[in-house]
Symmetry: D2
Subunit: 231 residues, 4 copies
């Protein structure tokens, strides 16, 4: 019996996730050395990112085939707007500023975040089948879950480790969501030509790379040249 598309995606993503794990952002989180400016940069970027993530879920609603799919999308929009922000509060505690102060007055998307967001919008705007967009969105929860699991597995984190609550947030809550998303991809792929499946795969793997670029962007506090006067 052959491998499902989602299993194949997970295998292909594995080396990219290893690289993200070994990059500075996650490693510095583990040893507690992440520069506060990098965390602030991350929070500003991720606040914007999740806002767009919710909007892209909304644009999927007309592509849903059943009421159940519609209700799933609505519950995810609610989670992204009102729930995932908890993970952000844990990081703002580390910085020692209020989350609201950190994100205040920041409006544009930093370069790598900009690329990631426009990658998802391109799918939802130009492709009818829901799987192209779901494949581009799915690495967000998947990569975070995998990183958090690795962090727990490879390190015995003290109960007062500053990142523990953030890590636990992603260790725990993602299973049901990921099962739903990967199942959606697998079901759509059954009707697809080989070329279409390749596009779905590309969308997924590009988003895995976008996750890597996003973390590195934050660690290095990357911005556009045109915005050099902001800070």
């Amino acid at each position: 019996m052959s491998q499902s598309l989602s299993e194949s995606l997970k295998s292909l993503a594995s080396p990219i996730i290893n690289q993200i794990y070994n990059d500075d952002f996650i490693q510095s989180m583990l040893d507690g050395s992440t520069p506060k400016g990098s965390i602030e940069h991350y929070l500003r970027a991720d606040h914007q990112y999740l806002n767009e993530f919710a909007k892209i879920y909304a644009l999927l609603v007309p592509k849903a085939h059943t009421n159940e799919e519609m209700n799933f999308l609505l519950s995810q929009i609610d989670f992204v707007i009102n729930g995932e922000v908890d993970a952000h509060y844990f990081l703002s505690e580390y910085v020692g500023k209020s989350y609201e102060d950190i994100i205040k007055g920041h409006h544009h998307w930093y370069p790598s975040a900009d690329h990631y967001v426009k990658h998802m919008y391109y799918q939802v705007n130009m492709r009818e089948d829901i799987a192209y967009t779901v494949a581009a969105m799915c690495p967000c929860p998947y990569v975070y879950q995998q990183l958090a699991l690795k962090m727990k597995e490879h390190h015995s984190l003290e109960s007062n480790h500053p990142m523990l609550k953030w890590i636990d947030f992603y260790v725990e809550g993602m299973d049901e969501l990921l099962e739903y998303l990967f199942n959606w991809i697998d079901q759509s792929a059954e009707m697809m030509s080989q070329d279409e499946v390749e596009d779905v795969k590309m969308n997924f793997l590009q988003s895995c790379e976008h996750e890597r670029k996003f973390f590195n962007m934050s660690y290095q506090q990357e911005d556009w040249m045109w915005n050099n006067d902001e800070q």
Copy 2:
């Protein structure tokens, strides 16, 4: 002090609403003579219509400017999918069949409903400002509320009148929603050129006429020629 756009829209809609009130659908509802086939036709059409209405709300989400606007849209999607169906249950009682049996297996949009739905999609797909779409959607709750109020006002309906629960549904629940929608139109109109305001007005008045055509369509059980073999 000049009239707001929403007040002007209400005045312009008034003669159309009077016509709908005097047309066969509402008059027959009042005297209890609506053919059951017309109610069934209406339920099939309105089930589809509300499903698309919810999808169009979802397409508005990326156009929202604040989290509060986004949450309003999400709550309306929930109402349309899960709440407004109550009004449909009251009508299926009148028919004496289960709602699920009535709508089962019906997939296409009847001609006048098709026009109405595609009118709303055109706005949300082609126009960036939320007001063009809101103006096309707003007549749905507004016309129903106005018709229900007129029915209560002009007739002393017995407590066992078969349409009483349906009428009360629209007499009671629409105020807050309508205030929100009309306010949205008025706020957007402040930034608009005169030509743009005329387009908003046209969208609203066309949807009022679509409401009229929708009721007449159901009363006459209108369908496409190509579908003459369905029944």
Copy 3:
């Protein structure tokens, strides 16, 4: 060997085309009795319609798979904007006014034209496969060609018949275009599920009915209620 989809569409369209042929617009064209106001209404409506038709072709360009398909679409946009207007000039001669004077200052779409145009926009905006939109557009040249052929076949029109040039325009120039469009539909249909083919068929037949409504709209000089003060 089974019938191709396009052959099946032509058979299904045949009774609708017969009805259009027997309706007032075409019959009055044949006996030279069409009210000039109806022709003017038609010219205003069709001027707007062709303008949107060209825009919808443009929206198909990103869905094209080859340079050759892109160039076909570009040549059709050019024909619709710059070529088909010749047919309009023949009709304005009948009215005895300049075409520019007839269409001047008219901006909105009359009700049945509005439905037709929004039907095509819905397809191009919501469906990725080019066939859904092509099926909605194809009845425009097909119905005109079939009507023109019938007019020539059933009547020996004198060389000074006022509609002769209009009829000849559609008798002659449509073959290559129609072959291209029907071939596009047939090729796409090969990859489609039965449900998807049914949607393509519905789009085509609805547009045939829209053609009928468009002619009747013009004959009766139909307009929106909200626009009752224009004329």
Copy 4:
């Protein structure tokens, strides 16, 4: 009298253009040392890019306000598909392979090109006013013209310089196009709020940075990690 928006955009772009001029791609073009692999990478990337550029022009057609604007867009689509390829032929001569062989079988967008293309699609899909997209497209001809002018000005290139025909292509043909595009931006900006003008400015400056990343991408023959098995 205050500066027009387009004059301000040109000033703001100037330091970015200087950086591109001093980066490896252009400097190596001047001294004839560009690796052939970099030119091949550029040709594959730019072939794809121009194809999408043409499609984005097509998506602007429904946003045009006049027939003259529509005809401008159509002529540009034709230029991009059928005319600008000449510049590519000059570079494939340098490589010593046929252009068709170089681009054959390459389908995906390299990372920085992918970002640039999705930046333009985001504008055309999400923003109604034509200026947002035009501002994102305009740096393509503008930056090339400015680079070519600088190359001619600072160097006395021999008549047999391998890049001379490429340089002359962009020195000569861009004036009329650029005047049209900048004028479009200026006219739209007159109706815009300050926030909207800032978005237009951002779109333009981001595309200038995308031009820089595109050249560097080609020089370094950058690709996605997921595609490491292609070459």
